[in-house]
């Protein structure tokens, strides 16, 4: 059953994928330029509100000014990408963009494995997973005493 399914999937996939075009190597053998040569990267201070927002969203704790500094440097490093000339180039979301999105038949083929799934759960209550209560939101900026604790 599984074998037949695999074969039908790859058959459909083969029908989808176009043969890669024969082209000359696009990537030059040696770097043609270095970032930072064109112009110095703009220095942008990370705003406090943005930091707070990030801490809420990603549940990270920047802890102290050194952490913020590291974030600053990371942003600067990523900003180098802005120097690349992308005029007339469509942004790429995924290396799969040339592939066909495989469409599955609307059949029930999975599920019914409650026991197996719950094996991984540290705690369970009558076949429910147990999680900590709700989403305890981080308190607002003014009320927090852990924000940038180390600085």
């Amino acid at each position: 059953m599984l074998g037949r399914w695999l074969r039908s999937v790859s058959g459909a996939a083969r029908a989808c994928v176009r043969a890669p075009p024969a082209r000359a190597l696009q990537v030059p053998p040696r770097p043609a330029w270095q970032p930072g040569e064109q112009r110095p990267p703009p220095q942008q201070k990370v705003m406090l509100e943005v930091l707070d927002h990030l801490e809420h969203l990603a549940l990270v704790d920047f802890r102290d000014s050194e952490g913020v500094e590291r974030l600053q440097k990371a942003i600067q490093f990523a900003d180098q990408l802005q120097e690349v000339n992308t005029d007339g180039v469509e942004p790429m979301d995924t290396v799969l963009e040339d592939r066909c999105l495989y469409l599955r038949e609307d059949d029930v083929t999975e599920g019914n494995c409650t026991k197996e799934l719950l094996k991984n759960a540290r705690e369970k209550v009558e076949e429910y997973f147990v999680a900590p209560p709700g989403n305890i939101p981080l308190p607002k900026l003014e009320e927090r005493d852990t924000f940038l604790q180390g600085s």
Binding site: L103, G111, T114, Y128
Partner: protein
């Protein structure tokens, strides 16, 4: 209410007043001419500038499919917890999403029915947020380029003094996107924990975004009701709100005409259409009161919507749908969603069904709305019409006034009606043949309602409800009434026609409703002119 002038909301927006027909209207005030946005405006407390409420909706409709959007787990309401969950739904590492073709077809169908442009190439994104019922930490959705955009939905409202005037309004559909549903959390505050059931996690949803073109709870409710009917007609969603298959979030704000839109708040967790109307109106009132008292409107839930937390879904290539022109020659059918093929097979939408009913049977537009609003009622009506000689225009009265009110009184659906279309048609035939009067017919219907298995004819015979066919007998009764009502007789002879009705009524009473009023009138007139 000045129904002729009303284009937007049918009422006034002042403190502590409700919008829409049926709300109390202060004496001497009229709905003021529409504002630039089309919404009716009103005076705030004496002299203050009027308020324009603005309502937008985000509607999540569960796709009616056998399996989930990206996995082969079954879609079913109320199953044992975590029994309809695959490894992918539980977000175990190494699992990948595989798109369900049926879900794409449902979204295209819905987009076409709502006059949208279908994007032949649409993209999937990840929306990240932390919640116990979202095991992956992100939801796969279509934020950037959804499958359908720029549509419209037309809906109707009853306005006017007797709720008999129908007004048609349109709301723009911003987009329709495919996305995953989350699981369900049960909060156990006593033990400080959350219980998570992932049966619903990964079920396909169509999010329908309606632009803020509505101005009150009544409009929002009417728009959602029409959308619900459309989805049910298409079969793309069963849209039963009570089972969570249709969930509505309302975005509400108020502003003064000519000024920019106010801060909007979200009204969530609405589980019935009636509650939607109430909740929206309540929020509008609350905002107006708050602002008129010098306060401000706080928006607490919009953190979700920030531009942060989105990224393209790297595991899914763009979704391509085709039409007859763009379809490549050798493609496997199974891999193709063809917009034109789907378009050709769209069923008649509710608005078209209503038009056909009005045209075919000569009923009023309001009637067609009621027929479609009640599950099975149209079918019942058409069955009665088929089986009776009575004109459809007359039959509709019996369906809407008598049958439907009985059903509502006893909280029954049309399917559960103790009176079948066959029995009702039988009864209406007796009436049409003038074997019984309409008063008698109503009595028979009341008997039939008991569901004791008797036919209308049997009941008529049992209760002696037949119209008196014997002319002589009728003449005698008419004469007796005339003899007993000297004053009235003189009034009629003097030219007062209204009193004649009283005499007819007396004859009716004498005959216990078994006389044909038309015939009685003729006989009385003849006698009185002698």
């Amino acid at each position: 209410m000045a129904a002729a002038v009303v284009r937007g909301c049918g009422g006034l927006w002042r403190r502590a007043r409700q919008c829409g027909a049926g709300g109390p209207v202060p004496h001497g005030q009229r709905a003021v001419a529409s504002s630039a946005t089309g919404g009716a405006v009103s005076a705030g407390k004496s002299g203050l500038a009027p308020w324009v409420p603005v309502v937008g909706l985000e509607i999540h409709a569960q796709i009616s499919s056998n399996s989930k959007l990206f996995s082969g787990s079954q879609v079913q309401f109320a199953a044992p917890p975590n029994s309809l969950v695959s490894f992918f739904d539980a977000s175990l590492p190494g699992t990948l999403p595989v798109l369900n073709r049926r879900c794409v077809e449902a979204a295209v169908m819905t987009g076409l029915a709502l006059n949208c442009s279908i994007n032949k190439k649409s993209l999937f994104d990840r929306k990240h947020y932390f919640y116990a019922d979202l095991p992956a930490g992100y939801q796969i959705t279509q934020q950037r380029v959804p499958i359908a955009v720029n549509g419209s939905l037309s809906y109707s409202l009853c306005t006017g003094k007797k709720m008999s005037q129908m007004v048609t309004k349109t709301v723009r559909i911003k987009q329709i996107q495919l996305e995953q549903d989350s699981g369900k959390s049960l909060h156990d505050d006593t033990r400080s924990q959350t219980l998570v059931d992932l049966n619903r996690a990964g079920v396909g949803l169509m999010e329908v975004v309606m632009e803020p073109d509505m101005c009150c709870g009544e409009e929002a409710a009417a728009a959602v009701r029409e959308l619900q009917l459309i989805l049910q007609t298409l079969g793309s969603s069963q849209a039963v709100m009570a089972e969570g298959q249709l969930r509505v979030d309302a975005n509400v704000s108020v502003h003064h005409p000519g000024e920019p839109y106010g801060v909007r708040t979200e009204v969530k967790n609405i589980n019935s259409i009636r509650f939607l109307a109430k909740a929206v109106d309540y929020e509008i009132q609350r905002q107006i009161e708050e602002l008129e008292n010098g306060g401000t409107i706080l928006n607490e839930t919009r953190a979700f919507d920030s531009k942060l937390g989105f990224m393209p879904e790297p595991n899914l290539p763009p979704l391509i749908v085709y039409d007859a022109k763009s379809l490549p020659a050798n493609m496997n059918h199974q891999q193709v969603v063809n917009i034109d093929w789907i378009h050709e097979r769209l069923p008649d939408l509710p608005s078209v069904k209503r038009e056909k009913l009005v045209e075919q049977y000569g009923i009023l537009p309001e009637h067609s709305f009621t027929l479609l609003n009640e599950e099975g009622l149209t079918e019942f009506y058409e069955n009665v019409v088929k089986q009776t000689q009575m004109k459809p225009k007359k039959v509709i009265g019996w369906i809407l006034n008598d049958l439907l009110s009985y059903l509502k009184q006893h909280s029954l659906t049309v399917k559960e009606s103790p009176v079948s279309s066959f029995l009702l048609a039988d009864l209406l035939n007796l009436l049409e043949k003038k074997d019984i009067s309409s008063t008698a017919a109503k009595q028979v219907l009341a008997e039939l309602w008991k569901g004791e298995g008797k036919t209308p004819l049997e009941i008529v015979k049992e209760k002696k409800l037949e119209l008196i066919q014997d002319q002589k007998e009728l003449e005698q009764i008419c004469q007796a009434v005339i003899d007993g009502q000297e004053n009235e007789v003189m009034a009629v002879k003097a030219g007062n026609q209204k009193v004649l009705n009283k005499l007819i009524g007396l004859v009716q009473r004498e005959t216990q409703g078994r006389s044909n009023p038309v015939l009685v009138k003729q006989l009385l007139e003849k006698k009185l002119s002698e």
